[in-house]
Symmetry: C2
């Protein structure tokens, strides 16, 4: 049994494909194309786990992530991985599950990420919108900066940039030329470069797809995520999404990064918050 | 072995006391004094779980909650409960754990809440504050509304109000007289009525101590929490805290409630977000 979306022409679907190898147990092949810096992108890994949970819950009618909380334990590397999904509660419209992503390292199985999640069916939820955070206003696409135009040395350590069609708002992209705005914001237009439509599982990737918001504070470097929770609020419409990252409190060696994603119709489709460690200053 | 804080004169410490009954296994007696409406307050339950994790990790030097994500499964009732704590990773300054709170119902053990958490030592974190969300400006205490002054029929279904020294900002308390501001905000001063000092475990209670923000939208009733994540950012100073709840997107039958807590010195000490179900309209 494949992963529902496996075998299509899209890079993301190949990258998150899972194969059932036992009850609640799925094999994945983590793709080096989603590496950034020293490790695999946390959003990509969350989409792999999300796809395994989706596959596990498809038949019981709870295919969509509603809330996913991930705790990142040890750095994940490209290659084989196993996702195990355990149903905790599955009454009615929603299922609550625990999941882990593990890899074998030096002959020992290591837990990389541990997750709690609620899945449901976004199409069966009420349509009413009582109030909704409106999307940020971005400059037109042609005035935004393509991350694929980043310098060659950046693209070499971040091959995942080639998979994103991100167009960054230049107001918060000065860090790329050593002039961070120090606003604690990074925002832009987002699509996958092969136009793979965004769906609820893909949103788990989108909330961690922009550079860390610390770049805009003049703090380059890897910012390890301790915890990331995503709430998927609505099935996204096709087309360009708008993504905004912001941080408001950077203290005690930690910062939170809030992310909102709006679809091409202006609806809030996902929101997330992560707690991450401040990058260490370069030595 | 007691729960570290057990046996003191404070209501909260009595309510969250735990007793070790096996490896990683703690007994608690959930106190009917923390009931609101039909069930026990979700923040109180999180503080019980947090106290069990704290007790488990005290000796390894990771006594403080840093990030706690709770998934609420089934309604908890006053009486005996068991908290089980499983260490997932405990290298260096931080430990990651999974925990569950269970109760026996009709002879069967039922999982009530399942949690993932990172604990550490807030005193060993760097002191630098790079940026910090400033506290909201509230009217002076004497101009705010005491929740203990709520009508007798409210106090009867919410005995926990007697334990909180909440003083609500009147600008967002009109719902109490049928005139909600419809801003999606509830905020006020907070202390425990017996002046029990707020500490990191108590903050797990504080983030869920105000009435649901849906009251301010004219939507009274119980709003069941699906998921609640708290980040404790700093050890709180003694004295009155400031607490703000806000929601920005109420759609698809769900709403998020963001909470910030500042201590008496104006520092952001905790932030949380929960995803909850909209209360059903009264029939």
């Amino acid at each position: 049994m494949g992963g529902g979306l496996a075998g299509t022409e899209y890079e993301l679907d190949r990258g998150i494909a899972v194969t059932a190898i036992g009850p609640g147990e799925y094999a994945a092949e983590l793709d080096a194309g989603w590496v950034v810096g020293g490790g695999l992108n946390g959003g990509y890994l969350l989409a792999v786990i999300g796809n395994a949970i989706r596959t596990e819950l498809l038949e019981s009618g709870q295919p969509d992530p509603v809330s996913v909380s991930a705790y990142y334990l040890t750095p994940t590397v490209p290659g084989p991985a196993v996702v195990r999904v355990r149903r905790i509660r599955s009454g009615g419209a929603r299922a609550t599950v625990a999941a882990t992503l593990t890899q074998v390292q030096d002959g020992v199985e290591c837990e990389r990420i541990t997750v709690l999640a609620v899945f449901g069916d976004l199409d069966r939820m009420p349509a009413e919108i009582e109030r909704e955070l409106p999307p940020v206003v971005l400059p037109p696409l042609e005035q935004c900066l393509e991350s694929r135009d980043a310098p060659e040395e950046v693209r070499r350590i971040a091959p995942l940039l080639e998979r994103f069609g991100t167009r960054l708002d230049p107001a918060y992209a000065g860090w790329a030329i050593g002039e961070p705005s120090r606003s604690g914001i990074i925002q832009g237009w987002f699509r996958l470069v092969d136009d793979r439509p965004l769906d609820p599982v893909a949103l788990l990737l989108v909330v961690d797809a922009l550079p860390p918001v610390t770049f805009d504070l003049g703090l380059p470097g890897w910012a390890p995520t301790l915890e990331l929770t995503v709430h998927v609020r609505r099935r996204p419409a096709p087309g360009w999404a708008i993504v905004r990252h912001a941080t408001r409190t950077v203290a005690g060696g930690h910062f939170e990064e809030d992310c909102e994603v709006w679809d091409s119709e202006g609806h809030l489709v996902a929101q997330s918050r992560q707690l991450a460690l401040l990058p260490r200053p370069p030595r």
